[in-house]
């Protein structure tokens, strides 16, 4: 049994087994299992309150789980102190020590752990170099911009020389431009350090761009754990399909009859990549992403064609969003570039089965 555990942990950096956590009567995490490979960048993505931070705090040792076990680098750390787990953590609010200089912030933990002076110096210098903090070392956090503060916070995790980095929405307090910059910087950092990183966010762009794998959470349960494009192309259920992608996927309710989807539109299913058997009957939700809908001449060649009346046009420069309805449900179309299509215009549209998704209307799972 023990041997099995041991071999099962080879190549695994963080392993979470049957993790449970409840605050009183509220179950926040339920029987959660998750294995994170060495050097992997895993993003925990989910709506507010789904338990992302709670899971991260459990891994960090800041919260005691009600049940289950956590392994980091092969060690069972379920009951270990945060500082003994080989983790570094970065918080949304930066959580810098306000009365200490940048250098003080970076070295406080090391000094406390009685790391030799020259070793502290070496690590601080290296972190400062990696994060471009050299000119700021003698400043106090109050004299730094948000982006600089967050870099210091990352540096504080970096000097700990740990295997696993934990990030709790580190970029949420920054403005959009800085967020994009720091996102790239984080990605570079991950490439050069090759540490395991677990990153909590509710920003899908961050998730899609940074992650090796994304775990989508809802109500303390992982809905889907897969590579970003897999999640985008083959969402495991209706929730994931609606959560990933902006604007979200369009859903059309109907039934499968034989080899056809029948609803407000008819759609032959030949060529669909079934996850679960081919179905020949049953209530089904048909999903198609706004960017996969074709209009005008392009629509002629599609397997499924219909006509819609455009209700709203939202030009966004690089692309244009059209709002319409199919069978009473809202339906969005995203076009590349700009268009002369106007409100009230009737338009032929079409889409193909190979980029569509089908979901069981009852269980909401992909079929």
């Amino acid at each position: 049994m023990l041997d099995q555990t041991q071999t099962a942990l080879d190549g695994i950096s963080v392993s979470i087994r049957d993790l449970q956590l409840s605050f009183g009567a509220v179950n926040v995490l339920q029987d959660l299992n998750l294995d994170i490979a060495k050097g992997e960048f895993l993003v925990l993505l989910g709506a507010s309150g789904c338990g992302k931070s709670t899971l991260l705090n459990c891994i960090a040792g800041l919260l005691e789980p009600t049940g289950g076990q956590i392994f980091i680098e092969g060690q069972n750390v379920t009951w270990a102190e945060p500082s003994e787990r080989g983790i570094g953590m970065v918080f949304q609010s930066y959580a810098l020590y306000p009365q200490m200089t940048v250098k003080g912030n970076l070295s406080f933990g090391l000094k406390n752990a009685r790391v030799p002076k020259d070793e502290i110096e070496r690590r601080v210098t290296r972190a400062a170099e990696l994060l471009h903090l050299q000119p700021l070392l003698d400043r106090k956090p109050a004299a730094l911009s948000g982006g600089q503060r967050q870099r210091v916070a990352i540096g504080r995790a970096l000097v700990r020389d740990v295997d696993v980095f934990l990030f709790d929405e580190p970029l949420s307090n920054l403005d959009a431009k800085l967020r994009a910059e720091l996102r790239v910087e984080l990605k570079r950092l991950h490439q050069s350090l090759a540490n395991t990183m677990i990153y909590v966010t509710h920003d899908q762009i961050e998730a899609m761009t940074l992650a090796d794998r994304i775990a989508i959470m809802r109500g303390g349960v992982i809905q889907q754990l897969a590579q970003p494009l897999e999640i985008y192309n083959r969402p495991a259920n209706l929730y994931v399909a609606g959560f990933i992608g902006a604007p979200p996927m369009n859903f059309i309710r109907g039934r499968i009859e034989g080899s056809e989807f029948v609803g407000p539109v008819r759609m032959p299913l030949t060529g669909y990549g079934w996850s679960e058997g081919p179905w020949t009957s049953g209530d089904t939700v048909f999903g198609i992403r706004p960017e996969h809908v074709k209009i005008g001449d392009d629509a002629r060649h599609c397997a499924c064609q219909t006509e819609v009346t455009i209700e709203v046009v939202e030009p966004m420069g690089a692309d244009t969003l059209l709002w319409t309805r199919i069978g009473g449900d809202e339906f969005r179309i995203r076009l590349d570039g700009q268009t002369t299509i106007h409100e009230g215009q009737t338009l032929p549209i079409g889409f193909d089965i190979d980029c569509a998704s089908l979901f069981d209307a009852q269980s909401e799972q992909r079929i």
Partner: protein, 304 residues
Amino acid sequence: MSVTDHARAPARRPRRLISNPMAKIAALPMIMTALVIFIGCSLWTVVHSFTKSKLLPSTQFVGFDQYERLWGTRRWLASVENIAIYGVVALVFSLVLGFVIAALMDQKVRAEGAFRTIILFPYSLSFIVTGLVWQWILNPDFGVQGIVRGWGWESFTFDPLHNPDTVLAAMLMAGLWQGTGLVAVILLAALRGVDEDIWKASRVDGVPAWKTYIFVVIPILRPAFMTATVLIATGIVKLYDLVVALTNGGPGIASEMPAKYVYDAMFNKQNLGQGFAASTMMLVSVLLILIPWAIFEFGGKKRG
């Protein structure tokens, strides 16, 4: 770029001065009151401390005579010594105790609201009531000594109020009982304002809680400590009612305080000049504390 910035700066400043004229007019009576009453009366007192005022204020100046007499009076010297001891000990203890209580209450205790009320309750009493309560507690016949003797320990003696060596300690006990709660509540509010993530970060860094308190949290709480210190210090300087209610300065002159000296000189001994001189000394000592503090606190901010 910088040239235009400089050129623009003076144009902005006057606009700020005349902004909100109504608010400034409305505040005028209050500003006048403050100027006339606080500064005016203080100046009047200082000026008359150089006269030989007796029952009534007089304008016959006598130089530093009143001060010479003041510093030659045994009772005044005892008062100064007492307030120095009381002040230092009360300040240190109420800050330390208040902080410890606040830190304990910050550990998510149950029924915290009730605790806070209990702790703040003594502060809502007047010093007179506090003095009377503690007079009972410390009274040899009805208080602690009487109760313990009632249990059968006949030789038990606990009578700090009637012993010149312990009377200040007894007064400190009463003063701390009343004042510490406020300090604790001020510091608790400030502790609550400390970002919880800072605690998490220090735990991840492996810093023990007591070190986090000393090196991280207490520096963050500095403004709250300043507020508490100023509140305690002003309470100490004007300490009067507690003395009157608890010991009336006794035994002998063992618990006299400067404010009581002023009061007695002016209203019991019809010696206004002495009272003015003594209160001027009190004013000077307050300024000696306040001015460096104000420069440090408000002068530093502009530069930073």
